[in-house]
Every structure is written in structure tokens, then in C-alpha cells.
């Protein structure tokens, strides 16, 4: 009896948690007069503001007037007839190589640089922004929090009754993610309205999904009962049906001058962002993803300077594969098979081809010297490092010295001086 009293004492806080939870049916379905009227909504907005402050303190938000101008123009193109949404929505570009975008309940929408690099047209990017606006408009985060809270508390009670074996959490997880997939489909459908009303091609979101489906970074994102998003195939099919059923279906809408200007603006801001993405991929040792992105840029008719830039970063990627064959094999395994354990055949092939990667890196760095871009100076140091790896000390010293001559104020000059001194002492 004493045990049972004690048990009830511990259970009480759990059940009291259940009674205080709001239901989704209490809310207006979209942003209306009751926006910010609920504790849960104030809580999620508070958390969103905290996350925004964190992104800012880590320097992950781009601060550039050209980007702000483009963002405002896209926002106006989508929301000119929706004042409440226009007041609530703020769009930011974030420094993150992952191909992704997300919306927070305070109305902030974040577009990763990785997504910008993957999407070459303004129209497709605008359609993805429309999808994120739909999440805010439909108050999806708030509904998710309420649903998750109810589901998790139920799972905790069930888990307690099953002596903490954890099984009820699998059911809870499936329920939460299923709710999330439903929201993604809703957002896809609502974004079609925004896209269509704004005069963009109604099938631009579908084009963006088709592009992402083929992107190696997203190819192996698992779609299962525990996935938060439906598969791209499912989404493309659903959108295709939705477009076919729409009265105002006009995929060949005439692109007006305003959109033409937006296209030009987008092309101009994209280049520095792409360089950021490639550097980030190289830092994270995603060499093959960087090569994939560079190959897609080659197909976009680059100028001579852009070609030199591409060559420099190809050199970086090849050098990375040469220097880190196991990490490269792990990445290649994941791209080819979706598995996280290194495929030994892939590792063997990379090891066998290491000298080819080394030569390719040297050739690419040398090609990058054809244009007077700042990376072409950096290439001198990189060539020196590769000669050092090859055991050709004199060649390495020569290139290091050329680098110091070409960049006497470089921040890494002491590092290069130490390298020269180590080589000369040996």
C-alpha cells in the first residue's frame, strides 16, 4: 500500500500535465485575429526569437544590402495582396551548405546558401519561399508543438505503464512525423495559390522539387514512416494533380519585366553565395558534393574568371580526396548507396587513384592561375603543399616563397615561413 501511494505521488504531475494541454481545434486555421493570443504561440515565438539571436551571434545570417533588396522584391512579388502576412514575414539568407529552407512561427524564413547554390532560377527559389510562407500562414509550428506535447505525454504515460521499455515512443514518433508530412502537403498546396496569384509559373515548385530529387546531397534522405517530409516523388505527383485540377492553370504565363529584373538580381547575388557554399563543403570534407556543384556551374556558361575560380576549387576538392581518402570514401559511399559505413571497394578505388587526384589537384591549381582572381595567389601555397606531400622539398619551397612574394600581408604568412623553415632544416 505504501508503494502504491508513493507511485501515485509520482504519477500525479504527469496526469496534471495532460489536463493543461490545448487542442489544435481551439485555433483559427490560419494567421488571424487570434495570432499571439495563446501561451503556446507566445512560447514558440519566444523560442524562434532565441534561435534567431543565436544565428545572428554565430554570424550565420548574411548582412548585405544587395541580398536584402532582392529578398524584399521577391517578398513583394508574392505578398502584395496579403498585408498581415507581409507584415509578419521576414526572409533571411543563412550561411549553411545544407540544401534546405525553414520557417519559424515568428514569421522568420531562412533560406540556406546551399539551397541557393542548388537552385539556378529566381522563379524556383520564389516558389520555395512561397512554400515556407505557407507554413507560417497555416501556423504549422504551433500546431506541431501542441500535437507533439499531447502525443509525447500520452507516450510517457504508456511508457510508465510498460516499465520504461521505450516502445510507446516509436508510436509517438510515427504520429508526430505523420502530422508533419500532412503539413508539408498542405504547404505545397497553399504555395501553389501564392505562386499562381503572383504570376510565376505555377509549375515552378514542381521544377524545384525535380531538381532537388536529383541532387546527390538529398538523394538518400530516407522516406519512411518516421520521415517528416513526404518523398519528392509523392510531392511531385500530388502537385501535378493539383495543377491539373486548378481552374487558372497557365504554365506558360508571360514573364514580365519585373520578373526579368529579379532574375538578373538573383544571378548577381548567387556567385558569392556559391563560393561560400563550396568553401563550407570543403571545410566539412564533402569533396564529392563540392565537385558535383562545380560541375553544375560549368554547365552554366561561366566567364573566364569564373572558370578560374571553378578550377581553384576543383583543385581544393581533389587535394581533399588525396589527403583524406577514408573521409572521401565515406562521403562517396553515402552518395552512391545511402549507407554510412565505408564501402571497402570504394575506399580501395580511391586509394588506388590517389596519385590521379594529386595530379588533378596540381593541374587544377595551375589552371586557376590563368585569371587574376585572389584565389590564384592562394593556389601558389596549395601547389607548394602538394609538392611537400610528394617529397619534392625544393619545388615546395619555391612555391611557398612565390606565395609570400605575391601575398606579403597574408594572414597565414607565418605558417608558410614555418613550413619553409621546417623543409630547409630537414
Amino acid at each position: 500500500m505504501r508503494h502504491l501511494t508513493l507511485l501515485l505521488f509520482f504519477l500525479l504531475p504527469l496526469f496534471s500535465g495532460c489536463t493543461s494541454t490545448r487542442s489544435i481545434g481551439d485555433l483559427e486555421d490560419t494567421l488571424q485575429e487570434d495570432y499571439k493570443a495563446y501561451d503556446e504561440e507566445l512560447w514558440v515565438i519566444d523560442k524562434s526569437n532565441e534561435l534567431h539571436a543565436e544565428l545572428q551571434s554565430k554570424g550565420l545570417l548574411y548582412a548585405d544590402e544587395r541580398y536584402d533588396k532582392y529578398i524584399n522584391n521577391v517578398k513583394t512579388s508574392l505578398l502584395s495582396n496579403k498585408p498581415l502576412l507581409a507584415d509578419t514575414i521576414q526572409i533571411y539568407f543563412t550561411r549553411a551548405a545544407e540544401v534546405n529552407a525553414f520557417a519559424l512561427p515568428n514569421g522568420n524564413i531562412y533560406i540556406n546558401s546551399g539551397l541557393i547554390a542548388a537552385i539556378p532560377t529566381n522563379e524556383e527559389l520564389a516558389s520555395i519561399i512561397a512554400h515556407e510562407i505557407a507554413h507560417v500562414h497555416k501556423r504549422h509550428s504551433l500546431k506541431q508543438v501542441i500535437s507533439q506535447k499531447n502525443t509525447l505525454i500520452g507516450a510517457h504515460v504508456a511508457d510508465l505503464m510498460l516499465f520504461g521499455i521505450g516502445l510507446p515512443y516509436l508510436g509517438a514518433m510515427a504520429s508526430i512525423t505523420s502530422f508533419s508530412r500532412e503539413q508539408e502537403t498542405q504547404a505545397d498546396t497553399y504555395s501553389l495559390e501564392l505562386i499562381d496569384d503572383s504570376g510565376y509559373r505555377v509549375d515552378s515548385l514542381m521544377s524545384a522539387f525535380k531538381r532537388m530529387k536529383d541532387n546527390p546531397a538529398l538523394k538518400h534522405v530516407k522516406h519512411s514512416v518516421y520521415s517528416t517530409h513526404p518523398s519528392y516523388d509523392t510531392r511531385i505527383e500530388a502537385l501535378s494533380e493539383e495543377i491539373a485540377n486548378r481552374k487558372k492553370t497557365d504554365p506558360d504565363v508571360i514573364v514580365n519585366q519585373e520578373f526579368h529584373n529579379l532574375d538578373q538580381q538573383y544571378r548577381a547575388i548567387r556567385e558569392p553565395i556559391i563560393i561560400d557554399v563550396i568553401e563550407s563543403q570543403l571545410r566539412e570534407r564533402h569533396f564529392f558534393l563540392a565537385l558535383y556543384l562545380l560541375a553544375s556551374l560549368k554547365a552554366e556558361n561561366p566567364s573566364d574568371e569564373e572558370k578560374a575560380l571553378i578550377s581553384y576549387y576543383e583543385g581544393e576538392a581533389y587535394r581533399g580526396i588525396y589527403q583524406h581518402p577514408e573521409t572521401a570514401a565515406k562521403e562517396k559511399t553515402w552518395i552512391d548507396t545511402g549507407k554510412t559505413r565505408v564501402n571497402q571497394d570504394i575506399l580501395r578505388t580511391i586509394n588506388q587513384d590517389r596519385h590521379i587526384y594529386l595530379t588533378s589537384a596540381l593541374d587544377s591549381y595551375k589552371l586557376s592561375r590563368s585569371s587574376p582572381i585572389k584565389q590564384s595567389v592562394k593556389a601558389l601555397k596549395k601547389i607548394g603543399e602538394l609538392f611537400e606531400k610528394k617529397g619534392q622539398a625544393n619545388d615546395a619551397i619555391e612555391y611557398y616563397k612565390s606565395y609570400l612574394d605575391a601575398a606579403p600581408e597574408a594572414l597565414d604568412r607565418i605558417q608558410v615561413q614555418i613550413k619553409i623553415s621546417r623543409l630547409e632544416n630537414h
Binding site: 508513493l6 545572428q56 554570424g59 520504461g164 613550413k419
Partner: protein, 272 residues
């Protein structure tokens, strides 16, 4: 006799294998340290989460601040005691003034994370292997070095969790249920908090990782003592040149759950 020789060799191999450490050090650590007179402490990365039953996990700012102050204050003292100049640099202000510098700090931390995986920081390795690892942490280090003028940069990370009252009640409820059903013969105990701490010293000029260590324990600033008791600043040249001769009792996780603020003695020996 034919059988006993392989067994003897196998036993010897096992004994050698037992000599393991969670520390990582540069192959020519002593030589590299000769160039290091000053150190700047990069902003500690601190994440302390309150786990709640509703899944709305929250950070605990007061706990994070307490840990941050502890790390800054005690590590600074420890470095000064060992004869280093600790460079005073206002990172927060510099980040506010220059978003690009804020991103540089993020890149520095990302670079460390990549190296961490490559060097298996946090896992036990043989002393010999752990002392021959060399890795470059990335270009961001040169910007930090130029801005702070420090010879080396110390990167630290503390991550921990604490369970809410409801969570502890649920764990206790589960334990009691099992206790009742097992007639009191088995009552599982579940941890109410836990933490991990890691630190890495990076050469500001070459960008090479000089030394790193990582431990798990209780949610307390004292955990950092466990790591910093082994800072390489008082490295013994004999040990550095003969990695096999280093002490071998680094493998186990540290349980400092009984350590309170009053126990936060810099020379704490709870590690060993």
C-alpha cells in the same frame, strides 16, 4: 610449452592494448610549445538543456553562465600558473562589431569538429597512436590569431542535460513499478543529469592541433578540472618523447557527481 608461448604473447598484446588515453597530442608537442608564449581562450561553446516531458527542451542560461564563468576563470588561472600570458580579448564585442568575425569563430569551431572526428577525440586510443596525430584545423585560425595576437587558441566545449521535475518523477515512477514487481530486488537508478567537456589547444601560426582531451561526468564545472589536470603545459620532455611511458589510467569516464562548487579545486585529483 608449444601452447603457452602464443598465450603469453597474446596476454602481452592485451596488456599493451590496455595502455590507452583520451588525450591527443602533436607528435612534436614539446618542440611546438617552445613557440607558444601566449594563449587566448576562445568563447566556450556551452549547451545545457533541461529535458522536459513535453519535448519542449529548454536551455538553462543561468547554468550555462555559471559553467562559462567557471571555465573562463579557472582555466585562465591554470594557464597563468604555468607561465603563459593569457590574452584578454573581448570576443563578444568583436563579434557584435563584425558579423564576419562572428562567422570566423563559427568556422573555427566547425574546423575543430572535423578534426575531432578524424582524430577520434573522446574515444580511447593507445598512447602511442594518440601521440602521433597531426591535423590542421582550417584557415579561420589565422584570422583569430591576427585579431588576438595570441600564439595559441584554446577551444572548449561543455554540453550537458538536466531532467525536469516531471521527468525525474517519471523515471522514479518507472523504477518504483519495477521495484514493486520484482519484490524490491531490483530498482533501476536513472541519471538526473550528465555532461561532457572537451578542450583543444591549437597553434595559432600553423593551425595544427597541439593537444586535446575529452571527458564525461556530472553536470558540474568541476568536470573541466578532469581535462585540465592534463593540460600539456607542464609536459615532461621524457614522457613526450616516449609516449609509451605515459600514465595509462585515462580510459574510464570520470564520475565527479559528488563534486560541488566547494570542491572545485584546480589541483583536483579526482581524475586519476
Amino acid at each position: 610449452m608449444k601452447l603457452s608461448l602464443p598465450i603469453l604473447l597474446f596476454s602481452l598484446a592485451l596488456l599493451v592494448g590496455c595502455s590507452a588515453t583520451t588525450m591527443r597530442s602533436h607528435p612534436t608537442l614539446t618542440q611546438e610549445l617552445e613557440r607558444i608564449d601566449s594563449v587566448v581562450i576562445a568563447p566556450p561553446i556551452i549547451e545545457v538543456q533541461l529535458m522536459t516531458l513535453t519535448g519542449e527542451n529548454e536551455s538553462i542560461p543561468e547554468k550555462e553562465e555559471e559553467i562559462s564563468n567557471y571555465i573562463n576563470e579557472h582555466i585562465r588561472l591554470r594557464l597563468v600558473e604555468q607561465g603563459f600570458d593569457v590574452v584578454e580579448f573581448d570576443f563578444e564585442n568583436a563579434k557584435l562589431e563584425d558579423p564576419d568575425f562572428a562567422y570566423t569563430i563559427t568556422k573555427l569551431q566547425e574546423g575543430y569538429d572535423e578534426v575531432k572526428e578524424e582524430l577520434q577525440i573522446g574515444r580511447a586510443l593507445s598512447n602511442a597512436k594518440a601521440s602521433e596525430l597531426k591535423s590542421y584545423i582550417g584557415d579561420a585560425i589565422h584570422t583569430v590569431q591576427a585579431k588576438t595576437s595570441a600564439d595559441a587558441i584554446l577551444i572548449t566545449r561543455f554540453s550537458g542535460f538536466q531532467k525536469s521535475g516531471g521527468y525525474v518523477a517519471k523515471d522514479a515512477g518507472t523504477s518504483i513499478l519495477i521495484g514493486i514487481l520484482s519484490g524490491g530486488t531490483y530498482i533501476p537508478i536513472q541519471q538526473a543529469s550528465g555532461a561532457g567537456f572537451e578542450a583543444a589547444l591549437v597553434d595559432g601560426y600553423t593551425g595544427e592541433l597541439l593537444w586535446a582531451d575529452s571527458r564525461n561526468g556530472a553536470l558540474s564545472g568541476a568536470l573541466s578540472n578532469a581535462v585540465f589536470a592534463k593540460l600539456p603545459i607542464d609536459v615532461d620532455p621524457v614522457l613526450a618523447s616516449d609516449p609509451q611511458a605515459q600514465p595509462s589510467s585515462e580510459l574510464e569516464n570520470v564520475d565527479l557527481s559528488k563534486a560541488e562548487a566547494s570542491d572545485l579545486d584546480l589541483n583536483a585529483t579526482a581524475v586519476e
